[in-house]
Symmetry: D2
Subunit: 337 residues, 4 copies
């Protein structure tokens, strides 16, 4: 329920009401605003009804949250959320670009690619130490060694690093070595992992599953927020359709949908979204044009030698071109790069 307090209600009044709600075992939300304070109560609506809050003299109105997702909904939280990723705000005026290799392969490769993307203007790094691969016989990532590499390079270059976490047992280690978790498409509904990340405060970039509706993505984000971690960034990375001209079908239509329904920032991954190097830059520009807050882009200093996904990775030159072409588009929609 959304509980709107009267203008003259004080912080103490709000705390009193919140305490009554919490006493019933419900989650609460306290949102002081410029004009009036809004409280949220998440849980069984019949339980809340017992409190008859609408008859409290300091309550102006009580209304249900219509969306099945509560904490991620704009109904309860109308203003855009800005998530801080290692000092870089995501969701505000700046359009942010995280770039780097699909997989961390060595210190040299990570450092060289990191330097390239930094000099081209990237705001953060990406790179996987744990790689969920379709085949058990494919390269599975360097694991802890990879985490140490990305942390080292991130520190050297001053670029916050995003890296994937695939198992509950690695959540702590990833939080220690990186500025943000990435939750991959295959794990979007790995609820144990979502809950474990929800108990952290480290930001999480949650990628849409390949068969997930936009609302499924929002419900998955709700799992993280409902455990207490508000620092969630959504990410569109392509869905499965009949079309074979691209590896996946990057579904940019969900960008305005997600921004309409939720206050969370939204990134786009045009590398996995298309699976074709030549289409990454045009789709990156399209993502900026339709309202995304930033990108995750695969860059490799030598794509032909990459241990995974080389065919969709940009070269350093290609990434420079992307950044150069992206800038006027970002500015055309009133943001900065």
């Amino acid at each position: 329920m959304i509980i709107v307090l009267k203008p003259h209600a004080t912080k103490r009044d709000a705390d009193r009401i919140l305490a009554r709600i919490e006493a019933l075992g419900l989650k609460t939300l306290h949102m002081p605003g410029a004009e009036r304070t809004v409280l949220g109560a998440i849980g069984d609506e019949r339980v809340i009804a017992q409190l008859r809050l609408e008859s409290d003299p300091l309550v102006e109105g009580v209304k249900p949250i219509l969306a099945p997702y509560k904490l991620v909904s704009r109904e309860l939280h109308p203003h855009d959320t800005i998530v801080d990723v290692g000092g870089m705000p995501v969701g505000g005026d700046r359009f942010v670009v995280f770039a780097g290799p699909c997989a961390i392969e060595s210190l040299e490769q990570t450092r060289e690619t990191g330097r390239c993307v930094k000099s081209a203007g990237a705001h953060g790094m990406r790179g996987g130490a744990y790689k969920p691969r379709t085949s058990p016989y494919s390269f599975q990532g360097l694991g802890r060694k990879g985490l140490r590499i990305i942390q080292k390079v991130s520190g050297e270059l001053g670029l916050p690093a995003v890296t994937e976490v695939v198992q509950v047992r690695d959540v702590q280690a990833v939080a220690t070595h990186a500025a943000a978790f990435q939750i991959g498409a295959r794990n979007m509904q790995n609820y144990g992992l979502l809950k474990a990340i929800g108990q952290s405060r480290t930001p999480a970039i949650l990628k849409r599953g390949m068969a997930a509706n936009a609302d499924d993505l929002l419900m998955a984000a709700e799992y993280i927020l409902s455990e207490g971690n508000p620092n969630v960034i959504l990410c569109e990375r392509g869905i499965k359709t009949f079309e074979t001209a691209t590896r996946n079908t990057l579904d940019l239509n969900v960008i305005p949908y997600l921004k309409q329904r939720s206050h969370l920032p939204v990134l786009v991954d045009p590398s996995h979204g298309t699976g074709v190097r030549d289409f990454v830059t045009p789709m990156a520009k399209a993502a900026a044009a339709c309202g995304a807050d930033g990108l995750l882009v695969e860059v490799h200093h030598d794509p032909s030698a990459a241990l995974s996904d080389g065919f969709q990775s940009l070269t350093p030159d290609g990434f420079q071109t992307l950044m150069r072409e992206l800038k006027p588009v970002v500015e055309a929609v009133g943001r900065t790069l």
Copy 2:
């Protein structure tokens, strides 16, 4: 086959070779260029092989066209095609916007909406006189009367008009009343209609079918070109996927794919592509950003009273906003609106 002539080959030499190819019953293509002339021969490659053109002293080389589509392929025709729609060039520097109601309902409605879109800067009108509807009990369009209305308003406002044709028997009438045919998604593989339009010289906007791969769209365009009409404009309008947040899934990924494979102009229809009014403007900007040559947009002066597709039509104010927000994005990719 692609036959490249030597630099000193004359028009007469080219005609001689073309005559030899045509004598075998094949279609030919004559493409004089700045430096050298290229000839095309479309048909059974074993037949062409009999001519041993590679041993002709004026032939520099002979190579197969690898794509299953020949005339629409960039292999044979590397430069962008510009199609003239009633005086408005589509496929060049200008990003063109055709706007208007889903269906022509009356002279007044068409005129009023036409004035709105013209004053907001549209380059052409759209509006259907023949409406293919899922239900036989839905409004099916005004037919010939609708054609006369759109022609009249188009003339008054000086806006070239695009209108749908759904049956072979209407091809002549539509060509007489409008500047361009629109072939709807449901008719993308109505080969009788494609061939009839191929025998016209009136431009045709060919919409992608809801289950059509990008290559299926190019093959459908090939039907029109192979009958002799080179004035084809492709149009992405959304495909069927599992996602229900939008009515269809506008697949912008095919824009760079189509531009890479074909020389034909490509439009985007964000109204049918999303089916949601609020998403039309963001997706229009995304279309411009990733390389589309223009838009088809539904606008109705009173969407709540529209006889079809009112929920996805922009209001006149909404269309003004679209044009205003589109301009900087179009300019950011080096074009004009």
Copy 3:
């Protein structure tokens, strides 16, 4: 609207009421039953309401038809429709199998394949004279010559023939040479063609489009029935999905759905539905098990030499196996082969 008459209402009473409805310009339906007569009125419900039929002393009740399709709905017509295809009833106790080549290539090929399928127990022939092909350069069928071949072989063997019609101008010729029209997936929403077939009395097998929902298929059938032709047979032939193990995804789930919503017979085409020869027989048995009324199967006496779709055509031996394995399954669901 569905108008249920009282038990003692006579034919003359029914005619009087039908005349009142028709005077308003609406379509009517007269369905005398064992216990009472049901009338249908198709059209704007507000117009029908003017008649205040519920106050007529011979009317027991008036209720709306809830489905968007009216004439194809079980609401109005609860019993199964049986369509007579050249003497072979489709939709009754017998599970019917139409088999033959994808395309009519010659008299010899058609005759030889026809003999094979007849000796294996097929109830009818199939074969295309007009072939809608993705490429304009692929074999397009023998046209009128093909129609004469299939009519000749059909007569010789006593097997009713089904053949595809792709253009309005061929409707009359196909009706003359074949026992039933086939409307292909690409033409499921070619409304001009549907209406032309609706004005015939020749049965029509309407294939589901590759992006058509089950309800879209029922609406397309409604176009034919609403023009006056009640002899419509639905056909599932596979939809477009992300799965590439099969050419299309045969969607047998719609069989119980279509049988629940509509009284029309339903066939299954496992050849196009899977696109893989080895899967045709298992899926044919599955179709029989879940309630389909019969099959369309591609058989070629020499698939490796077929001019189209050879890889999904059964050999004569393969078809014999299909019929032999199908028989116990058909009998297990209480029908005969």
Copy 4:
């Protein structure tokens, strides 16, 4: 690689060769046959090539495994695998039916539903103690208490029980309380979970993900086998498509595909596959007809009171009908129920 030994090679010869392969760090497989012994070596083929096994006098031939999945492929293991689930063989002559509630709600509910399904002829029980739900606010299952309930009822009724595992930390407990793991569609590519189950010997029913190709499913199974657990049963449960007449699109086409490519047993879940109670029995019969080895079916003694998925659960009467109608179809394909 597949290494075929000469007929006179002994067990000792095989062990010698296996030891050479293992010394290179590769996985091996020993498959003694009636006529000759076949060995498998899984790993980098260039490494195996170093051994020059083809020049070993006891080796008849060495050939690559072409499929990307090795241990699950029929290339290496041509005969059907039969998996023992608590004494019930799955994959042999008997068509096996596991039935029960979506979620374990209480001892009474589980016992009552268990009795119903046993008396109707089910071979095993199903029921979830851990429920992966789209919303964090939906019923999440009884957890350990649920495991104890299903174990108790399973013991009382003598029905082996299958139950879902969603987290690595519950693998041991589920193995202790149930006869088989179920891995849900959302976890098909939760590789940590697959590996943990691969280190068990308890059978695992692996459900296909909603966006997973058939080959993705086989690769996921390979993860389990490659860790050492050969007791894997595949399960088709519906994919995401544009069709909304059913909740998912049960894709029976993959049954013959999976049986052709792999030796593993294949079940079908028509409850989740269609999401509509009325379609469960027809699709169950279709599954039997096209070669599936059994079913997972949701049954609830009072579906309207079910805490999850009530609308797709059969009533006890409905399940009796399913079993009665299924029997003749199962027998028609030469198996027993």
